[in-house]
Amino acid sequence: MRYLAKEDSKCIQCKACEEICSTTYFKVNDRNKSCIQINEKDGMPEINVCDQCGECIDICPVMAITRDKKGIVRINKKICVGCFMCVGFCSKLSMRQHDDHIEPFKCIACDMCSKVCPTGAIYISERDDSEALEMPLEKIFNK
Amino acid sequence: MTVEDIMKIKKFSYSRIIVKVNDKHIEQEDYAVTVVNDGDDVKMIHLLAGG
């Protein structure tokens, strides 16, 4: 599955990624509307962005979250009922929510941010499909 | 007698329990090592929700 890989140690916290993400999708430069967020912990940069693990897929009550052909986890905003359980349950804290919008949003590995990253700290990569955390329905209901 | 001993005698098996000795909170990992003396005020409050 395709995802945005990261190397925190290369990050210089220039925030170019946050700017391009929020500007592209929400037409405003606001880190709170960016799918990728650069935090700092004990003086060190921390890149927080969805790794397409898929644990949110089984949480959604309306099955609005699915994996597309490239393996990217996507929210169908038409179906989404805005409960934000995916936000609360994301163990990586990478499912985003902003009060201006009634649906959550997340990184879809579109590659725009890696193109503006000056140090190559973020880049598109592939993970093995076996690392997906959601369970197929046949497996859940087959005892 | 430790807190753990008291809980065994009283058969307090439920996990959501608040234990205070002389108004000081005792955490679960310390039950076995916290000694209770005569005259100590011991409170064991179960938090059971019910239906």
Binding site: C83, F84, D99 | M44
Partner: protein
Amino acid sequence: MDIITLKNNHKLLKEYKYELGKIDKGYANRTLYVNVSDNNIMEKPVTQMMKDKFVGGKGFGLWYLWNAVTSETKWNDPENEIVIAGGPVCGITQYAGTGKSLVCSLSPLTDIPIDSNVGGFFGPLLKFSGFDALEIQGKAEKDVIVYIDGNTGVVTIEEAPLEAVDGHVLGEQLTEMYADNEADKRNVAVVTAGTGAEHSRFGLLNFTFYDPRRKVTRLKQAGRGGIGTVFRDKKIKALIVKFSNVKGDLNNPFDQAIINKTGIKYHKEIHDLDSKQNNMRKIGTANIIEVMDAYDLLPVMNYQYGMHPDTQNIKSTVFIEKYITQGVQDGCWYGCSMACAKAADNFELKTGPYKGQKVTVDGPEYENAAGLGSNCAIFDPEGILELNFYCDTYAIDTISFGTATAFAMECYERGIINKEITGGMELNFGNFEAAAELLHQMSRGEGFGVTVGQGINRMKKLFAEKYGADPDFLFDIGMEQKGLEYSEYGSKESLAQQGGYGLTNKGPQHDEAWLIFMDMVNNQIPTFEDKAEALHYFPMFRTWFGLYGLCKLPWNDIVPADNKYTSEPAKVPEHVQNYLDVVYGVTGKKLSVSDMIKESERVYNFQKIFCIRMGKGLRANDRTPYRSMGPVTKEEYESRQERYDSQLKEKVVYDPEGKSTEEKIAVLRKYRENQYELLMDAVYKRRGWNSNAVPKLEHLKYLDMELPELIEVIKDLQ
């Protein structure tokens, strides 16, 4: 039978078109009235007075019911209503447990108002369709459905002769019939009863929601009080509501941001703590089966005992490991991260008309595992699941059925009734086949099952009058009060819980107070004043949820990590603040905790006076069967001899040495019954009532509830 044929056989009796509206800060500001006698359909406005004094949910239900009936109205008169109402918070999607409705009606068991709470999608979709409540009055000539199309603004009453009556079949048929396609199924919600509700007094209502992963219609229940019996008596087969495009802001809240923040905080809490606390997401309320047994509080064999070695066979881990599907998002309305609506899938039925079918069983909740299980000594998880399923589809209250069957079993074991009376059924404790057969008889309307389906109150009369049973003994062991069967907690050793059950408005249901541990195990409420305070605060607090469309479970079934450090952990202050924040976020109304209690007290006292008006609201009606208060029989006394002997020594100052068990039982009984009388005095005083349990006029004034119709009922009872 295919869905097209079913629909083609409908006969339209009335069509009503309405303007679609917008919800304003949680209120649709109108309600829908449907009369199935004359097919009159109309809209009624929600007045400011209704919002100020009744808030919504149960408040609206009781207000409409009061105005529909007289003090002479019986449950099966056409004037009796069924009112379904959510509340101003009902339907938000961000916090857990926000899809509840309360259903109100006059109960066939008690003849006074019953209020019954239920999840599922009907309440929220009804509100989004434009209505804060649905009032149903009258009686149809032939089986009808009422359909509310919230997308186009049309309400119809249609004859529906061919559809099934049983919940699990009818729910599927109507969901399929009214949904545009598979994706639309979750936008259709159905209310059904079942064939059992036609032949018993404790019929329930099923409220469906469509499960997109299982691709089945799930069933939640408005269980208590027999509202399903009223439903079928009115010849209503089902209610259907359809509303597509559910979104998170349909309530048009005052401040969405605070709702979002509080909801996400709560979801995180469930994610982090559920598996360390109660495992609600794995097994729901049944997580306490083994806990109750460990503390000698599980109802066993008609509440004679509190524990049993075979509880090991039905403890929560057995259900989790072998029957209850794990890893599925099981909330009964969107946004419930507590997700306790667990189910057993592909469960093969062993008995009855659906034998051999593999079904989804909604449950078992704790009440089912205890009522259908330990209370009848059926320590068999598959037996419990099968009885659970048939109760749901036949629309029989599992609690009343469990407690009533346990009563019948004890009568059978003691020779009060025999095989001749039961029609050949060996109603011994533990006989699953016999219990199942009782249910099937209720569905078919024949046999001893119909007798059990009349409820304990009427069984006691029948057994005494027709079979010469000792009425005093039956009164002692028949676990009902005001006509309603007790729910599944052993109150025998907790004076506070005896009051928690006995001093309720509707009858012994634990939604008002659940004080057993606080009282018996923690000893936190030792004096009468302490107990009275708890029996004021908790019933008022817990019934507040039913005004707003909220489920009580997210309040205290899981608690924040630092809850134990707060000054009153049993009240879970952070969660209480969550609710105040959510109410503010939706309505713009800033409430304090004492405001909450007062809001609830208004409706509670209204309900109390309603019960007095209907004939069962005074002190004499609050007396309880002795089995709920102490040991009736020799075996019960001797099973807890040490406890009872010490109580005699310490509290009664009576030396048990050398005395017979019968003597000791009598002395203990006199003491305990007197304790209960003293408790009544303390509680009534704290609640602002006189010693006959009548609200005082000055208390109504304090509550700003001096409605002339209320004063009329109580002025001569002061």
